[in-house]
Amino acid sequence: MAKVFIIAEQRDGRLKKSTFELIGAASSAGHETHAVLLGEGVSGLATELGHYGAKTVHVAEHSALKYYTSEAYSQVIVPLVKSISPHIILGSHSPTGRDLMPRIAAQLETGLASDCTQLRFEGNQIQVRRPVYAGKATVEVEFLGNGPKLATIRPNALGIPKPNTGLSATVVQISPHLGTLRTRVLDVVKGSSGRPDVTEASIVVSGGRSLKSAENFKILEDLADVLGAAVGASRAAVDAGFRPHRDQVGQTGKVVSPSLYLACGISGAIQHLAGMRTSKVIVAINTDPEAPIFELADYGIVGDLFTLVPLLQEEFKKVKEN
């Protein structure tokens, strides 16, 4: 049995689904699963981590931990890791995880495999595979040296386990000893859409230049809202000013791995395919039957998105209502 240490993530008092994926994977493989949760007023969330299989939840609360900074968080996590000596440390490849884990890896002088899409436990080791060249190839990561093995896992790559309210974790409060902090969060300006982030959503509805205008994306937004989905865009649509860059899916935007990716009016440039190739089910709607997107799509409709998207919205609504 390996000791697995997991960086739990919460924002605005809610735990991330990607944290449940990590805890579920480690505990269902029979490993001693530790989680660390940082923030202000977050102790109440420890119980829920227990339901997914965490054996021990280490909670650090401090006003300077209310918002994530790599500096403050690593000052709490690194000493804790040293006292627990885990074999494996896992985080999500989320905006927080991808920023924090390299800091921890540098302080521990150990290797980190980032953005892994496959994870297998083998004794006290992990076998991981990750995409390179934005998914145009994948590689297995070999860890050199004897330190703990660090990995960040792409959200949605492992699947969310079912919680078991019969399970509970031991909660350990730790008093953070923070040194000088050179970085500090002054404010967070909330995104206004209320929709999930493209990298974390389980369904992404994406549009290309064929949408013709920023206003026309409204039909994709309406469809997304029926599905609880995020709205993505191709580079062409972003370059044309239809959507902000944060919605861009592709090699020079976000890499996504949802269970359903609906590509509407996207032809499928190599650099776009690289960003959504690992989606579980891909649907393409395009007027051009020769569009490269159809080579990757599980289901394709040759047709006009302006006709089809509103019809799909009606049909999905019926399914959702039943």
Partner: protein, 257 residues
């Protein structure tokens, strides 16, 4: 001000990736190499800061095989003053790359600001910025799309989840990792391209900066191309029938809705 920019040379985004025969890496024959797009925002930010602070110098660093000198020259042609190339193997990981960059920066007398891209589009790990900062004991602000410069401080806007923007203040020196939107990178002008040929690019070996290949922490092996996808199913019929059938499949068969 002494401003530094760390850049990486990567295959162009339209490159079709092929593997070498023993699957230990990619076949680099015929690849068109470019400066990683996010690093272009880093170079541009350094140049604009220099223009606002006369007397400043912009130094561009890149670690890699000798081909990366070409990427340094590209940055020099847009207006950077000098370059540093640190020779590391093609197979170097993020740690070794970061140790090499940090090692070269430690030899500089004064470092006020370091810029880099938020990630390189080939490896896409987004590790090097935080690793370099940590090895230099500096703070790091990543995914930055706006910067206000104060007196020995910077105020950065950075992208976090769900389209939210975080406003973060850091003391200087600091390493800032650029996101698209930070600025609009300029093109090289002909006089600058000519001038760039005469600018100094210093070459360092790992031994010169107290780093060794043993600082590598991970190695990539067993490269694979994504398995070819089976031909997908085309749904025919009139639009209403197509929509009904697609939703039925996604709900009842694929079970993703």
């Amino acid at each position: 001000m002494n401003i530094y920019v760390c850049i990486k040379q990567v295959p162009d985004t339209e490159t079709k990736i092929k593997l070498n025969p023993n699957q230990s890496g990619i076949d680099t024959t015929g690849i068109k190499w470019i400066v990683s797009p996010y690093d272009e925002f880093a170079v541009e930010e350094a140049l604009r800061l220099k223009e606002k602070n006369p007397g400043s110098t912009v130094t561009v660093l890149s670690a890699g095989p000798s081909r990366v000198i070409e990427a340094i020259r590209t940055a020099l042609a847009t207006g950077a003053d000098q370059g540093i190339h640190i020779e590391i193997p093609e197979t170097a990981d993020n740690h070794l790359t970061a140790k090499a960059l940090a090692g070269a920066l430690k030899k500089e007398t004064q470092v006020d600001l370091i810029f880099t891209g938020k990630e390189a589009i080939d490896d896409g790990a987004s590790q090097v910025s935080q690793l370099v900062a940590e090895y230099l004991h500096l703070p790091c602000v990543s995914v930055v799309n706006s910067i206000q410069y104060g007196n020995q401080t910077v105020q950065c806007k950075r992208e976090i989840e769900g389209g939210s923007i975080e406003i973060l203040e850091s003391s200087m020196p600091v390493l800032i990792a650029a996101q698209k939107g930070l600025n609009e990178p300029r093109y090289a002008s002909l006089p600058n391209i000519l001038k760039a040929k005469k600018k100094e690019v210093k070459s360092l070996k790992l031994g010169d900066i107290g780093v060794s290949e043993a600082d590598q922490k991970i190695r990539y092996k067993n490269f694979q191309l994504p398995p070819p996808k089976q031909a997908g199913k085309k749904i025919s019929g009139d639009p209403t029938a197509q929509a009904k059938e697609l939703v039925r499949i996604l709900h009842a068969e694929a079970k993703v809705v």
